[in-house]
């Protein structure tokens, strides 16, 4: 998902007997559905894992501004321009809320930013794909935000209080994101032949990258088992991917668009669709840095960070002078 490949530091889930008394008490609180708060005792692994996961999630929001920001200046009507701008602005806000949640664990936002720029921290693979046409704004809202919401709604119940509260706010704000995407797709699918072609092309390009957003199968992953025990991951990747496909296929049918998968078929026995897995080699390559837009995305973030340095320093210097003057005046 937005945090696709968070490697935990643990060696799998400890049995109660292996745990220290603190760890046992901590696990008992989580099992009792209590929230862990910043100043509470927590295992080192829990803290580190959370920083990686929330940080990755935050980075994804910020880098995720870029592919959609690519179309703000070319939106076809004033209303579409405002909707898209408000949506991309929300993503900046979501990044901000998530960074703040991670900061409660003792890491600074600037340090996390440096880790993103140096490549030490990752962001979701999906934002390394280009947005080529206006229909991509529809596809991103409909599919990418649709996939994101599927992951974020359960995370509102995650064990770490600040993370859970950030997710509540994010989910509330995001509720219009997927709808505006589908609304664009409806207009395109019902529009001129060129618009319809554009819509189908966008679905073709974003289908598999959207499925990849949930990450590879984690049924046997010890990292995932630990994260689930700690309730910082609520559902398995395969579970969410299946749910996404089952929800999205009828929507594509409604639009009169074709999901680009010959293997797609309703399986009455499992009560869901069978579908073709995405190309995981491509996924790992994109995550490693070899996607179509990785270099541009990081360059854009690096440039914004570098170009903004004098502004951040200038405003801080003024703030300090003002505070000093205020203290002197007392």
């Amino acid at each position: 998902m937005y945090a696709q490949m968070v490697k935990s530091t643990g060696r799998g889930v400890k049995s109660p007997e292996e745990m220290t008394p603190e760890e046992r008490a901590f696990q008992a609180r989580i099992d009792a559905d209590e929230k862990i708060e910043p100043r509470d005792w927590m295992p080192d692994g829990y803290r580190k894992n959370l920083i990686r996961q929330i940080g990755q999630h935050a980075h994804s929001e910020i880098v995720g501004q870029l592919p959609e920001g690519n179309w703000i200046t070319r939106a076809p009507t004033l209303e579409r321009k405002m909707i898209l701008l408000a949506k991309v602005q929300d993503e900046a806000g979501h990044g901000l809320y998530l960074y703040a949640a991670a900061e409660t664990l003792g890491v600074s936002r600037d340090a996390m930013t440096e880790d993103l720029l140096s490549g030490r921290m990752k962001y979701s693979s999906i934002f390394n794909y280009p947005t080529l046409t206006w229909a991509d704004m529809g596809a991103v809202g409909w599919l990418v935000d649709g996939a994101a919401i599927m992951n974020q709604v359960p995370l509102q119940r995650t064990s770490y209080g600040p993370y859970a509260r950030a997710m509540v706010r994010i989910c509330k704000e995001e509720s219009f994101h997927q709808r505006q995407g589908f609304d664009i797709m409806m207009k395109m699918a019902q529009g001129s032949p060129a618009q319809k072609r554009m819509a189908q092309d966008a679905l073709n390009r974003f289908w598999y990258p959207s499925l990849m957003m949930f990450g590879p199968s984690d049924a046997t992953s010890v990292h995932s088992a630990q994260s689930m025990a700690w309730r910082i991951k609520i559902n398995s990747n395969d579970e969410l991917r299946q749910k996404f496909v089952d929800q999205t296929v009828p929507q594509a049918e409604y639009l009169g668009l074709t999901v680009p998968d010959d293997g797609l078929a309703w399986n009455a026995e499992k009560g869901g669709y069978d579908f073709t897995e995405p190309d995981w080699e491509e996924f790992f390559a994109v995550l490693k840095g070899d996607g179509p837009c990785n270099a541009e995305r990081l360059q854009a973030r690096q440039k914004a960070w570098d170009d903004g340095a004098w502004v951040r320093e200038g405003l801080l210097a003024h703030g300090r002078k003002r505070r000093a003057a205020g203290i002197a005046a007392q």
Binding site: Q65, R74, P76, L78, G93, G191, A317, K321
Partner: protein
């Protein structure tokens, strides 16, 4: 939309066109910052300003279209006119430059905009007054924010001061256009629809002087103001490039519903 008042053209259409074009072009320019600002908080604030301005542009251009009576709405005017038919202030079509250029341009626009809107709130034209009343609350906040940011960066570090001073030298020659009047302005003013631009000069320039003094910045001497945007006599070369981006979809796929 035409420059001077000609027989049969409602001067309110011209006023609304000028207000709408200026808000649209500036809103578009600021929206170019989305995702690229110096800090997340600033990114969000810039987007808020852009959203306010594009919203205002829609209201003004819808009014312009209605009064013009040619069946064009805000989108028709925004997306299907060429550069020579735009009537915005030249100041706002200039490229974003660095953050200093952007925030200084914003403050110069906002300082003028709040005073003009205060006058338009009392317009005898009810629709003009209603749009101005809504816009003036947004503009008051924009002015507070841009003014404080200009002051902070002027005062901040040596580098931020130097950059703001350089930005001021680049932007200042475009200030004079705000106070330029033509026959349409005279007609609007005598009908009680809009204040004559020249009458805003003292208070707006006073506000600029105060801001620049606090920011420790010095406006350069200007021998000749750069004007022509709101009269339609002249534009910078930048506007055409901005429009070719903004209007591209509407032009490439004419007549579609989006």
């Amino acid at each position: 939309m035409v420059g001077g008042p000609i027989a049969g053209v409602d001067p309110v259409a011209i006023l609304a066109g000028r207000m709408g074009d200026t808000a649209l072009v500036l809103g578009h320019r600021i929206s170019e910052w989305c995702g690229l600002a110096p800090a997340l908080e600033e990114d969000i604030a810039l987007a808020n300003t852009a959203l306010d301005l594009i919203g205002q542009a829609k209201l003004w251009l819808d009014l312009a279209g209605a009064r013009e009576g040619l069946g064009r709405d805000a989108d028709g005017l925004a997306y299907l006119r060429d550069a020579w038919d735009f009537r915005n202030l030249l100041l706002v079509e200039r490229p974003n430059g660095d953050f200093g250029d952007t925030i200084l341009r914003q403050a110069l626009f906002d300082g003028w905009h709040v005073q003009l809107l205060a006058g338009l709130r009392d317009s005898r034209d009810e629709q003009v007054a209603a749009i101005a009343a809504k816009a003036s609350k947004e503009a008051a906040y924009h002015w507070q924010r841009s003014r404080e940011t200009v002051i902070a960066l002027g005062d901040g570090t040596e580098e931020s001061h130097a950059r703001m001073q350089a930005a001021l030298v680049r932007a200042w020659p475009f200030v004079g256009e705000m106070f330029e009047s033509d026959e349409t302005d005279a007609a609007l003013s005598s009908a009680g629809i809009a204040p004559a631009p020249a009458t805003l000069s003292t208070s707006v320039m006073g506000a600029f002087e105060e801001m620049l003094a606090e920011a420790t910045l010095r406006a350069p001497e200007v021998s000749r103001w750069q004007t022509g945007g709101r009269s339609g006599r002249m534009h910078t070369e930048h506007l055409g490039h901005m429009l070719s981006t903004m209007q591209w979809l509407q032009r490439a796929y004419p007549g579609c519903d989006w």
